[in-house]
Symmetry: C2
Subunit: 204 residues, 2 copies
DNA sequence: AAAAAAACCGACCAAGTGGTCGGTCAGCTA
DNA sequence: TAGCTGACCGACCACTTGGTCGGTTTTTTT
């Protein structure tokens, strides 16, 4: 375990810098040398730790992206009693984090799903799986909210989950081009409006 | 005008195929040769008509993407009397088109904004401008709806516009990975729910 | 039909790309 | 001290990329 320390440290440095650059410039538009240059490491070091560029990115997904999505978007909702309130707070917190840290990696997921779609099936699958877990978690929480009396029984949980995910992916996409504060404020305002409309008896 | 016919035809063939491949595989991940091969044309033909790969893409934006966004998302809303109804119908129609034509280019905008962000400022600007026109148009239409009595006066037009755009961008992003029919059905259902909640007196 | 202009061809180039591989070297063990 | 091993180096390779350019073919003009 101790002797693995250096190994782990180097691998993690590469992964962190790799995610940063892949996120900033795109996977296909970032060369391994770009990453290595910033770390003052060599090609040899890279291929000593990782089999290929693809293998490298998969390790980034598993070690960084998955964990971030879980901690930012899945766990904050999981345990809460009132799903609609929990979702509101979760989104609020996630956007606030995104607003202040330029590279919080809170929702790189969207960008990468986009970039790899139709280009690399294996990576796409890994990314899609994360998204699916999020979706299932939302649906499950909403359903549980029904039995607990927080959510109207007629609510279409899957529809609401899909809509919430859509809007969140969309706003994160818009936020990359600045004016984040205003955007996220507007977004949360309307999300509240939407969530509240779900809580009352169906309109029409 | 007549003498330009062949020129126009060839340029358009290149642009159409270019958009198809750029959309499918990404701009940076598609070579000019990829496009030329499918058209049985040569490098010389390409550089006879376009100055560079970048110039080529800008011409695609101006000739294909702008027009599509206008005809699919801007014009259908512009003239209508009741904005909320117009938006609903517009989204419905846009998603239905997207659902059936795999490459309708209805909202490539999202993908490309994503890909070029932070990588090519000039192209980003062109794309952002299209998005801005859409946004302004939504806001204006909503405001006009207030004076016409279709929209409550307290409505935050800019917030609603941002939210609608977010959700639309998000759903189009999710739809690339299949299961479109189900997704777009859910999305429209929830969009209606949201729009209806706007029409009535503010909740809380 | 001849000349001029427009459209197109494809070999070529410099600059990268992902990936390989023989080698170096610090630190541990015996 | 000698040997071994994990971590790293960097020259090198085959290949792709955007872009150039001298030349050929097709179309239009005269």
């Amino acid at each position: 375990m101790d002797k693995n320390l250096k190994r782990m440290a180097t691998m993690h440095r590469m992964q962190a810098k790799g995610l940063e650059l892949f996120y900033k410039k795109g996977f296909y538009n970032t060369s391994i040398d770009d990453i290595l240059k910033e770390l003052s490491l060599s090609k040899g070091a890279f291929y000593y730790h990782f089999q290929s560029k693809e293998d490298f990115f998969i390790s980034i997904i598993q070690n960084l992206i998955v964990r971030k999505v879980y901690s930012m978007l899945i766990e904050p909702i999981e345990g809460e009693s009132d799903p609609l309130v929990a979702i509101e707070h979760c989104f609020e917190n996630a956007l606030s984090t995104a607003e202040h840290n330029e590279f919080d990696y809170g929702f790189v997921l969207g960008n990468f799903i986009n970039e790899f779609n139709g280009r690399n099936d294996e990576i796409s699958k890994y990314l899609r799986d994360i998204y699916k877990v999020w979706e299932v978690n939302l649906v499950t929480t909403l359903q549980k909210g029904k039995t607990d009396g927080f959510v109207p029984r007629h609510l279409d949980s899957e529809g609401v989950a899909a809509y919430l995910i859509s809007s969140y992916m969309g706003i994160r996409m818009l936020m990359v081009e600045g004016n984040n504060k205003n955007l996220s404020y507007h977004f949360m305002q309307q999300t509240r409006q939407y969530l509240k409309s779900l809580a009352v008896t169906r309109l029409v």
